[in-house]
């Protein structure tokens, strides 16, 4: 599977490789530059493993000043830079290219300050998502966005992709929970945006930065919002005889003005995969499953559940199963959050990330099944139903190039279906390289020209993560 192109490597950069490595060694402390060919291999791809490119070198700076020094140097010589957090991108956002210096933030992994009176945490960009919640959990707080890869993924990467997660139905995605950053612009200038105040003056550069996929600068520190943990939380399983009924039930729950913390959807293939992995007690005799999480006091949770169950009954719910213990609740979430990994144990897969209006859930699920069947493949659906963010996992055999090509073609058709249903190509995984060449399906030329113009305002030479997001043809001249 090798259809998505990268920019051709700059020969002027490649020919100076050893010189560039020498210069970077001078700029960084010992042990902060990876340049031996074998040591570079782990950085050749991310979680979008179908594509690989070995970078020129990997810089692993320990301070903002070192990040600035590397960027300033690369900017001066027109060397592409690919920022990298934990390399968990599902869209190829962190895949490097042969002429690029990877700027990895993994050594900047300290929590700098926790401020409960202002409900903020200030952390370095390489801190993992879960580490923030872990650090404040004992004191009764948490950081809300919770991507499935939260054990590994970093806050810097979360900002780059505006990551979401299961619980963002109530609490919002990264952009709604980010208060400020320290970042380095492409020329090495260090700026600070926002802070502990709730809003910043001038243009909303912080909002623009979220989801910009490492193309506007490199974040080195972030100030995020902490939230007091709810008194209790309870996931409840609702089993249905059809995906359509489950999808319609989701739309009715939201339509009734009930906003649970999370509404997750799994179809039968996904249930089987996740249950085999986690033994979470998912019902096996249903075609579709919703995990609905409510939170609050016992009485509040009971009240909200009662309303949800009434709606579910109207849609012929077959099984309603409440978690009986904290352990079981944890298993229910473990099963859901392991869905991608558990799927990877039985087959190769590509994961789509289109978002659709809730009224279109059932239609798009049906259309997805048709598309995948037409390509002779299988699909497992496991996704954030409450906000319409779909994740069809298309199963295929990576050793069979034709199978792989079919999977990619099916994926592209599904994403176009999402856009045509009034949705978008990607809800939380980012465009990366994966969806780059579909951008024209969602945006007009004028839309893309405006976005690319703004991008160029930050990086006129297009050296920051340059092969990503925007179709390679039709870009403004650097």
């Amino acid at each position: 599977m090798e259809q998505i192109g990268f920019l051709p490597p700059k020969s002027a950069v490649l020919s100076r490789r050893s010189e560039i490595v020498e210069d970077l060694l001078d700029l960084l402390p010992e042990g902060c530059l990876v340049h031996e060919p074998r040591a570079l291999v782990p950085f050749e791809t991310d979680a979008f493993v179908s594509y690989r490119r070995v970078p020129l070198a990997v810089a692993l700076p320990e301070t903002t000043a070192q990040v600035a020094a590397v960027l300033k140097y690369c900017h001066r010589y027109g060397i592409p830079v690919v920022p990298r957090g934990a390399g968990t991108s599902l869209s190829g956002g962190a895949i490097p290219q042969e002429d690029a210096v990877v700027l990895g933030l993994s050594k900047m992994s300290r929590i700098l300050e926790v401020d409960y009176a202002n409900r903020t945490a200030t952390v370095q960009a390489g801190v993992t998502n879960l580490a923030i919640s872990d650090a404040v959990s004992a004191d009764g707080y948490f950081y809300a966005p919770d991507p499935s890869s939260q054990l590994a993924c970093t806050i810097g990467g979360n900002i780059g992709m505006n990551s979401g997660g299961a619980h963002c139905l109530k609490y919002g995605v990264t952009t709604n929970n980010l208060l400020g950053v320290k970042m380095v612009l492409v020329d090495g200038t260090v700026i600070e945006l926002g802070g502990k105040a709730l809003d910043a003056p001038g243009l909303d550069l912080l909002g623009l930065l979220c989801g910009s996929e490492g193309q506007l600068g490199v974040v080195t520190e972030a100030t995020v919002r902490l939230i007091a943990k709810p008194e209790g939380a309870r996931p409840v399983l609702f089993g249905f005889d059809s995906s359509e009924e489950a999808g319609a039930c989701v739309a009715d729950i939201i339509g009734a003005g009930i906003i649970p913390v999370a509404i997750e959807f799994m179809d039968k293939p996904a249930i089987e995969i996740c249950e085999a992995f986690a033994q979470a007690g998912y019902p096996m005799d249903v075609e579709a499953l919703l995990i609905v999480e409510v939170e609050g006091s016992e009485a509040e949770m009971d009240g909200m559940l009662e309303s949800i169950i009434t709606i579910a009954r109207r849609h012929g719910v077959k099984v309603v199963k409440e978690s009986q213990s904290a352990t079981q609740a944890a298993l229910i979430w473990k099963g859901r959050k392991s869905a991608f990994g558990a799927t990877g144990r039985i087959a190769d897969y590509i994961c789509m990330d289109g978002t659709v209006p809730l009224s279109q859930l059932s239609n798009v699920l049906r259309g997805t099944a048709e598309i995948v069947a037409r390509h002779g493949l299988r699909v497992a659906n496991v996704f954030h139903a409450g906000d319409g963010n779909m994740h069809p996992l298309i199963l295929f055999n990576a050793n069979d190039p034709e199978d792989a090509a079919r999977a990619e073609a099916a994926g592209n058709e599904i994403l176009k279906l999402c856009v045509d249903a009034g949705g978008c190509l990607t809800g939380e995984h980012g465009v990366g390289i994966e969806k780059r060449d579909l951008m024209r399906h969602q945006y007009s030329e004028a839309d893309l020209v405006q976005q690319m113009g703004v991008r160029a305002a930050f990086d006129p030479q297009w050296i920051l993560n340059p092969s990503k997001v925007f179709p390679l043809e039709g870009r403004p001249a650097a």
């Binding site: 409960y116 202002n118 409900r119 009764g140 505006n162 952009t175 612009l185 700026i191 945006l193 802070g195 502990k196 105040a197 709730l198 809003d199 910043a200 003056p201 001038g202 243009l203 909303d204 912080l206 623009l208 989801g211 193309q215 943990k229 709810p230 009715d252 939201i254 339509g255 003005g257 009930i258 906003i259 006091s297 009485a299 978002t355 659709v356 209006p357 009224s359 954030h384 906000d387 319409g388 963010n389 009034g422 949705g423 978008c424 190509l425 809800g427 939380e428 465009v431 945006y443 007009s444 839309d447 020209v449 405006q450 976005q451 113009g453 703004v454 991008r455 305002a457 930050f458 925007f470």
Partner: protein
């Protein structure tokens, strides 16, 4: 002579902008004109959104609405009220305090990122804005974002347009998310706290899992101006709870128990709660028909009272606090003291101050919006150039929308 362009379509707006671009004219973008902070130079042409009015699509089950930018906010609110939905960010109405006339528009709300008390837990206008259509300074019609809650497809120009105050482009259509109106609401009042004690009480409330949706402190000097003087004597620290009736009652009990050690506790009914938070939102105590300088200051929640205490030692100020103390409405006795206010904000950890109101001569002599670091100003100028290369919209002081 000022010409007011009132296009009835995006295409017409595009033609007007192209013509202005060709003749090096400038255009002042205007919605209802209720949030204008600094009048532009006399004689400049106006590009009004008044002709672009109407709700394009309302889908209560998806909790989203699309409306043309010139749609009156009242029309949006009325349609939402019918289905018991609302704008979660509580857009404030600046007419009483600024003494402006006109009709607030939904485009103006988003163009100024106008957000009220619930902002500190539910997000600002920018957080509810899902997508926009606009005409940029070259006359191109551009769309950004969409109508779904989660969308990371390309650069988030929607956020950039929110709060851009008519300096980047002419908004023609906005799509935004909605929330259900809570079944009921109540306010817990803690009386007699000084500003520092109030900050501690509010931080305690926010550390609890009771989902406070409004946290304000109304010092004694302003307290009598709220709810027709029906708040208890002394300063009032007020905390709002919203949700199902049974749940609000339980949470109110917990909150009262936790705050009893701070001061005397009382509570307000749902009706009084609605009035109180509307008055807090709309800066009611300073809607006094004067032009005394009024600052809107945004700082870390614990810095708000420290800022006011520091300023009191040097000049005559009056203030009240929203957003757990992080939003300070600061009224000066005489001079705006811009340099002093901004110096203390910086010393207390940063934030920013906007001069919302002052006599025209004072306004003209003051930086209404907070100046920013040079690198950020340069970057912002480069971004603006990508929207409006000829500077058609740049004649506007950034205070307008």
């Amino acid at each position: 002579m000022t010409m007011i362009h009132d296009p009835l379509s995006e295409e017409a707006a595009s033609r007007i902008i192209r013509a202005a671009s060709a003749s090096s004219a400038t255009l002042e973008i205007r919605g209802g004109g209720t949030r204008t902070l600094l009048p532009g130079p006399a004689g400049r042409d106006v590009l009004s959104s008044a002709g672009l009015s109407g709700i394009v699509a309302y889908n209560p089950a998806e909790m989203t609405m699309t409306a043309k930018s010139g749609t009156p906010l009242d029309e949006v609110a009325a349609a939402l009220a019918e289905r018991r939905q609302m704008l979660s960010f509580e857009p404030l109405d600046l007419r009483p305090v600024l003494g402006t006339g006109g009709i607030p528009t939904i485009g103006g709300v988003f163009a100024t990122n106008a957000s009220g008390p619930r902002r500190f837990v539910a997000g600002a206008a920018r957080d509810s804005l899902l997508g926009v259509r606009f005409v940029n300074g070259t006359g191109e019609v551009v769309k950004a974002g969409g109508r779904v809650m989660k969308n990371v497809t390309g650069l988030d120009l929607t956020k950039l347009l929110a709060g851009s105050r008519g300096t980047l482009a002419f908004l023609t259509e906005v799509t935004f998310r909605l929330l259900p109106v809570p079944e009921t609401a109540a306010t817990i009042v803690v009386s007699g706290l000084n500003d520092a004690e109030a900050a501690a009480a509010m931080a305690t409330a926010m550390s609890m899992s009771v989902e406070v949706s409004g946290a304000a402190h109304l010092p004694e000097s302003v307290c009598g101006r709220f709810v027709g003087g029906r708040l208890p004597d002394g300063a009032a620290t007020v905390l709002r709870l919203e949700g199902l009736a049974a749940s609000v009652a339980v949470r109110a009990e917990k909150l009262q128990a936790a705050l009893a050690s701070f001061g005397a506790i009382s509570s307000l009914s749902a009706e009084e709660t609605a009035l109180l938070w509307r008055e807090i939102r709309d800066v009611h105590p300073y809607a006094d028909g004067t032009a005394r300088p009024l600052w809107r200051v945004s700082v870390a929640p614990t810095a708000g009272h420290q800022l006011v205490a520091a300023l009191r030692l040097e000049t005559g100020v009056d203030a009240y606090f929203d957003w757990q103390g992080g939003l300070v409405w600061l009224r000066m006795e005489a001079d705006p003291e811009a340099e002093l206010v901004r110096r203390y904000i910086k010393a207390l950890g940063g934030g920013h101050a906007t001069l919302m109101r002052a006599a025209p001569t004072v306004l003209a002599a003051t930086s209404v919006l907070q100046p920013q670091a040079e690198a950020i100003e340069l970057l912002s100028a480069r971004i603006k150039e990508k929207f409006d290369p000829a500077g058609i919209f740049s004649g506007a002081s950034a205070g307008e929308a």
